[in-house]
Symmetry: C2
Subunit: 361 residues, 2 copies
């Protein structure tokens, strides 16, 4: 696995259970995943480093989109099995290519723009073609002046129609080389300042019809671009309409609830898919699963709030990434399962406020 962050860390448990020898390519030994399992330290932007790493592996996969596509292609030319392949992976790296490829799927109107004059109606959304995440590389643009300022910085942007959506969902989908594919129940993602803070599964406001339509859409996209492994399809919901927002071809924050909330977690399913093993059953283990992202606050030491929450809510499942605490940084998440939506969201919100220091001890 190229990358050794928290997604790699959370892949260790299913790899151990499935009997898969997981090896990470880490930037350094202190990374979240590298702290706990076998890894090689090296630069994923260096072809010879990645080549040497790939010689130790039967299959190469990713936990982030940052590896240059040229390296993925070079590995493929060497005969290395890379999943997802460069032919799919490009659509999670290049937002313009994704929009073009999925032009027959429901999408916001969009165009690639290099000059501010090309856009006449505002507001619009401008996105960096590649590299953005957690609200970075995405701007709401109200005028040609604002657009010109962004273009001066990044040269070229993807301009998208601003969808006045009711809410956002994500559908996690997994697809194997055989074309076997599964989806999990659609997840509502709740953002604050462009960062996902909570997810609720199944998305509570989504009708059964729209839920099926969203899952069908994710399966169709997976098939269309031939992705192998797990993919997140982020979708805006407006009335009865769905609009594709983003794709991520790896386990994704929107699927963290699956660790306890599904018979097969996204991390297990990703390993099954990229290793061409039959996929597991993605059925939920409880009626509702609520996930909350723990964001770093001002305090480095979270031991006391941690003890408090463990004692208060013995069914709360913690997932610590052991990353250095920085304000606003995702340093862990909690999952809670049950059948009472209000209670679950309140309890998770309490945990998040407590961990980030917004409730005084």
């Amino acid at each position: 696995m190229i990358g050794a962050g928290q997604l790699a860390r959370m892949s260790v448990a299913p790899a151990a259970a499935l009997g898969v020898n997981l090896l990470l390519l880490a930037n350094n030994a202190q990374e979240s995943g590298a702290q706990i399992t076998n890894h090689v330290v090296g630069d994923y932007k260096d072809l010879e480093t990645v080549r040497a790493f790939s010689r130790k592996c039967d299959v190469i996969t990713f936990e982030h989109e940052l590896i240059p596509l040229s390296i993925v292609k070079a590995l493929e030319a060497d005969g290395v099995v890379v999943r997802p392949s460069s032919a799919s992976f490009i659509f999670s790296q290049d937002k313009a290519a994704m929009r073009e490829r999925l032009s027959n799927f429901p999408s916001p109107k969009n165009a690639v723009v290099t000059k501010a004059e090309e856009v006449r109606e505002f507001p619009v959304i401008a996105k960096a073609i590649s590299g953005g995440y957690d609200g970075r590389g995405v701007w709401k643009i109200n005028s040609q002046t604002e657009l010109a300022a962004v273009l001066k910085e990044v040269g070229k942007v993807l301009i998208e129609e601003l969808i006045d959506f009711d809410y956002e969902i994500a559908v996690m989908v997994a697809r194997s080389p055989h074309g076997q594919a599964t989806t999990w129940a659609p997840t509502q993602t709740i953002q604050r300042d462009g960062i996902c803070v909570m997810t609720i599964t199944p998305a509570p406001q989504l009708s059964n019809d729209l839920s099926e339509k969203a899952q069908r859409l994710a399966l169709d996209i997976a098939n269309e671009i031939g992705v192998i492994g797990v993919m997140a399809v982020e979708i805006f919901v407006k009335g009865q309409e769905l609009f594709i927002n983003e794709l991520a071809m790896r386990p994704h924050n929107s699927g963290h609830w699956t660790i306890e909330g599904s018979l097969t977690s996204q991390f297990e399913q990703h390993l099954r898919a990229v290793l061409d093993l039959p996929l597991g059953n993605p059925q939920m283990t409880a009626p509702i699963a609520v996930m909350g992202n723990i964001l770093g606050g001002d305090k480095e030491d979270m031991y006391r709030p941690y003890l408090h929450l463990m004692a208060r809510t013995p069914e709360l499942k913690f997932h610590h990434y052991k990353k250095e605490v920085r304000p606003g940084r995702k340093i862990g998440h909690v999952n809670l399962l049950g059948d009472n939506l209000l209670e679950l969201t309140q309890e998770v919100q309490h945990a998040l406020d407590y961990m980030s220091g917004e409730i005084d001890e």
Copy 2:
């Protein structure tokens, strides 16, 4: 953690989630747990080795009972926090001491014997005072001649009344330094040739009254001997009577179903307990959990049956230990959750037969 077998391997997932830095003392780097996580290679029978290891740790715990008690005591004298402590741990190492200490709890009649003439009524059970497991170190004895032969080999045995039990159960219990304690639903353990092949939770023939009585018994024993961590209490059930069979002070095969079958697995609870964190909720995640031990068969390569089973039963959860395959050796287990006892046991039995090669492909 002293030891790096499959119990250590299965502790990696909850350690990662809880943010606990788990370090193993392994016999060699090929051991099940050492394959996948941080470890030191060294001999747990050598005091200086264990001392050096303990200087890297805040708390020492065990995944087996083989470490000499003198070493545990020496660590304690050094001021190392060892959980469970030597004062408890002795009762999982020394069966005679356990019987004596628990003489006020329901037990088979028993006596320590060095001469065959001391026993007049047969059949009886003879047990090695320490070191036995999976049927090793336990003999059914029909005559003084047979007993004499065993005594010639081992010098001293614990003789126990042969209980003509209806079935066997195990109650897993966890206890923290604060004295907080939890039990899981009692598990029926099904043995073949002295080796556990399947467990069913909750024990299907156990009445609610007896289930409560068995859990109460486990809590009382945990309190009596002051155990810290997870303990298995193996119990014979005969009519409305319970008889303590064995204790194990660590995560145990009888608790493997908890990985998916409980909100808090025995591995997570053990870590919480020995680190003095509040205990998790041990509630079941489904009405019934069936666990089957995969025993090594004649074939080394289990890849094809593995693929078949994954495809046949997408909800079957595999736990591979990555140990060398030897006939009769526990090399993994499967868990299956649901509400239909017959279907679950049949499906698990099919999986076991298939993996051990008893069903031809």
